[in-house]
Symmetry: C2
Subunit: 374 residues, 2 copies
DNA sequence: CTGAAAGCGCTTACAG
DNA sequence: CTGAAAGCGCTTACAG
C-alpha cells in the first residue's frame, strides 16, 4: 500500500525511518490547504488523523490511541504522535469521532429557566468545569414543563450525548424511561433523593425551608407567612419544610400561605407583600421562597413606610445579587449553586470515564445568612 | 444486491411493489432492538435512514432528499418517505450528517459573561429562535478577553459549526481572520458598524449614551458624572456618546468620569456612588453605564440619606430586572436584547440557507425610559 | 504493543 | 426525477 501525503510525496506506510528523522514534522504546512482538483474528492483540506499518523510514521489507529491517551502504546510513539499533532495543528473531528464511537462530547443541561440567576450560575459552572475536558454543555430550557422536558430529552438523546444533567426528579414516566434506557450517564441537580442507582448533587430543599422558619421562630416571630411563586417542586419542598417546622411549634396555619403560580419576579414580590399586609394583618414575618420576591417585598415595604423588621420581618432564599445591598440587608439562605454545577460536572466526568463514584448523592448543604431584615 | 432487514427478511432492493402495499410500514417495530450476534457488527440498534428507505421502498439517497425537503423528489415518494420515518420514529444522526456534509447544526454564541442578565437574555432568545429549526446554540464565554475568544473560536470552528454569533467587533486580528476564512456565516451582536460584508444586529451604543446625557441636560442638570465599570468596548462607546453630548453643550470635564475596570455589580455601584459624592461634591447627576451599578447607587443614596433626584439624579442603562421597582424608580435606557437575539438568529438562519439578507446591519434602536430618579 | 479491515450513518458528485 | 458508488474522519473488533 502506498500513501500520498499532501505534498505529493509517495512512500510505503511502513517506511518509518524517514519520519523518525523528523523530516515530515519540520516541513512547513502550507498556509492554504491545497485543494486537489481530483474528481470524486471531497476533502475539506483539514488536517486529519491520517496526516498526523503519516507524519509520526505510525498507523492511524495507533495515532488515535496515542492521542486519546489509551494505555498500551509505546511511550516513544505517543510522544512522536503528539508532537506531530501539535506541529500540524491537528484538531480531532468531533463528528467523525461521534459517529465511530457512538458517543459525542455533548452534555445537555436541562434547567427550568434562564431568567432565574440560580440556573444561570449552575449552567455557567457546569460549562466551566466540562469545557477544559473537551465536553460541550448544551442549553435546554424546560420552562418547568415536564412535557417540554420530555421533548427535549428525545431530541438530545438522539444526538448520543456523552452525559446528561437534569434538574430535580419531577418528570414524566416516559422521561424517566428515556433516561434509564439510553445508557447515558445522568446526574440530577438541586435535590436529594433516597432512590438507589440515581446520581444527584444538591441539598435538601425541605431542610433549608425548615431552617429558615426555625430561625424566624428563634427571633420571636409567631405569625410567619410563607409566600411563594412559580410553585415548582423545589419551592413546594421548601414549603413542606416551613410547614413541618411550624407544626412542630404548634403554630401552623394554612391561611398563612400565599401561593401564586405566576413566575417569580421582583415586581410580583412587591404585589404579594402588599397582599399579605392587607389580607393577613397579624403577620409579623414573611418567608419568601426566592430572593427576587423578597427584594420586591422589601422595596414595597419601604414604599409603603412599613418598618422592616419592626413591623414585619422579611426573609428570602438563594442569596441572589443585591440582597446584601438592600435596606435593610436581606436575611436569606445561601445556596451552593456554583458548587452544585461544579460537583455535578465532576461526578458526570467520572461517570463518563466509566468509573463508579464513591457516593451516589452529594449533599452540598446550605447556609443561613442572617442580615438586618429579620 | 440483496438487503437484509432487521427481521431477517431478504428481498431485492428494487422490489418496491411489496412496500407500496404498506406491509413493511405496518410491521410492528420490536420494542427492543434485536442485537444481532453477527461478528463485526457494530450496529447501535438505532433506526437508520436505510431502514426508512427500505420501508418506503426507495433508495437511501432519495429518502435523504425527501426528508431534507430537497426539491426534485416526486411528491408521492416524499409522502411515503415521511410516513415511513414517522412510523419508525426515525431521527437523523447529527454526527453522520455533520461528517458527510461537513456542516453541523451547532451555532456557538460567544458572549462576554453569563453573569450579566443582558447576555443571558440574548442567549436565551437566540436559543429559542434557533432550536425549532434544528440548530443548537452553544455557550461560549469570553470573559471580555480577546485571547480567550480567539481560543474559543479555534475550538468551535473545528466543530464545523453551521453558523456563528459573536459579540461586538473588538477582537484579535487572528480571530477576525479565523472567522473570515472559515466560511461559516457570522452575525455580530450588540453594535453597529459601517464595515461592508459584515453582518450585525444591535443598536448604536454611542447614540444611546448621547441620548441619556441629553435627557439629563434637558432636565437641567449641569454637572453630570459618568460612572462605569468593566470598561468593555460597548461601555466605552456609551462614554463617547456622553462626551460628545457634553462637549456639544460646552460642559465636558474629564474629571467627571469615574471609570473602574472591576466587574459591574450592585455592590460596586454603591461604592462608586459614595466615591462620586465624596470626591466630586458638585455633581448633580450620575449616569451609570449599567443598571446594576445604578441600582447599587440608588440603594447607597438611600442608605446615606441623599435625596434622589433632589440632591443627585441617577440614571442607568439596560433596564434590568428591578429597576422599575427601585425607590425612586430608575431612569434608564431600555435595550432590545431579546429582539437582538431573535433578529440575529433570523439573519443567521437566512445566511445558513445560503440567502443574501436584504440588509447587512439591523439597527434595533433603544428607548429612553424616564422614571423618577431623574 | 501495533495494524489492516470494516464500519458508524449520512451526503456529495456523477450518471442516467 | 432517481440511484449505485464513494467518501466524510474517525474507532471498534480482530488478529497477530
Amino acid at each position: 500500500m502506498q500513501l500520498v501525503d499532501r505534498f505529493g510525496q509517495r512512500y510505503p506506510s511502513h517506511l518509518r525511518a524517514s519520519n523518525i528523522e523528523g523530516k515530515p514534522l519540520s516541513a512547513p504546512s502550507p498556509p492554504v490547504p491545497l485543494a486537489k482538483p481530483d474528481s470524486k474528492r471531497r476533502s475539506s483540506g483539514r488536517t486529519t488523523l491520517t496526516d498526523v499518523a503519516k507524519a509520526a510514521g505510525v498507523s492511524p489507529i495507533t495515532a488515535s490511541r496515542a492521542l486519546r491517551g489509551e494505555r498500551g502504546v509505546a511511550q516513544e510513539l505517543v510522544q512522536r504522535v503528539k508532537a506531530a499533532a501539535e506541529q500540524l495543528g491537528y484538531v480531532p473531528d468531533p463528528a467523525a469521532r461521534a459517529l465511530a464511537s457512538q458517543r459525542s462530547v455533548q452534555v445537555p443541561v436541562l434547567v427550568p429557566l434562564l431568567s432565574n440567576a440560580l440556573f444561570v450560575d449552575v449552567l455557567e459552572s457546569v460549562h466551566r468545569t466540562l469545557f477544559p475536558h473537551g465536553y460541550q454543555a448544551l442549553i435546554g430550557v424546560t420552562h418547568y414543563d415536564p412535557l417540554e422536558e420530555e421533548q427535549l430529552l428525545r431530541t438530545y438523546l438522539a444526538h448520543r450525548p456523552a452525559g446528561l444533567l437534569v434538574t430535580g426528579f419531577d418528570r414524566t414516566e416516559a422521561s424517566r424511561h428515556l433516561i434509564a434506557t439510553s445508557g447515558v450517564p445522568c446526574v440530577h441537580l438541586m435535590e436529594m433523593t433516597p432512590a438507589p442507582g440515581v446520581f444527584c448533587v444538591g441539598f435538601s430543599q425541605q431542610d433549608a425551608g425548615h431552617g429558615m422558619t426555625a430561625h424566624l421562630l428563634s427571633r420571636g416571630y409567631k405569625t410567619i407567612a410563607f409566600v411563594a411563586a412559580q410553585l415548582d417542586p423545589r419551592t413546594m419542598q421548601r414549603a413542606e419544610g416551613y410547614r413541618r417546622c411550624l407544626r412542630e411549634a404548634g403554630l401552623y396555619d394554612p391561611r398563612l400561605e400565599l401561593l401564586s403560580p405566576q413566575p417569580s419576579s421582583i415586581r410580583l414580590g412587591a404585589e404579594l407583600l402588599e397582599e399579605v399586609l392587607r389580607t393577613r394583618p397579624g403577620v409579623d414575618a414573611v418567608f419568601f421562597c426566592n430572593d427576587d420576591l423578597a427584594q420586591g417585598g422589601l422595596l414595597a415595604a419601604q414604599r409603603l413606610g412599613v418598618a422592616v423588621p419592626g413591623r414585619v420581618a422579611i426573609a428570602g432564599f438563594n442569596d441572589l445579587a443585591g440582597s446584601d445591598q438592600m435596606l435593610p440587608p436581606l436575611t436569606t439562605v445561601r445556596t451552593p449553586r456554583s458548587a452544585i454545577g461544579e460537583a455535578s460536572a465532576q461526578m458526570l466526568l467520572s461517570l463518563m470515564r466509566g468509573e463508579v463514584p464513591v457516593k451516589n448523592s452529594v449533599n452540598l448543604g446550605f447556609e443561613l445568612t442572617v442580615r438586618g431584615s429579620t
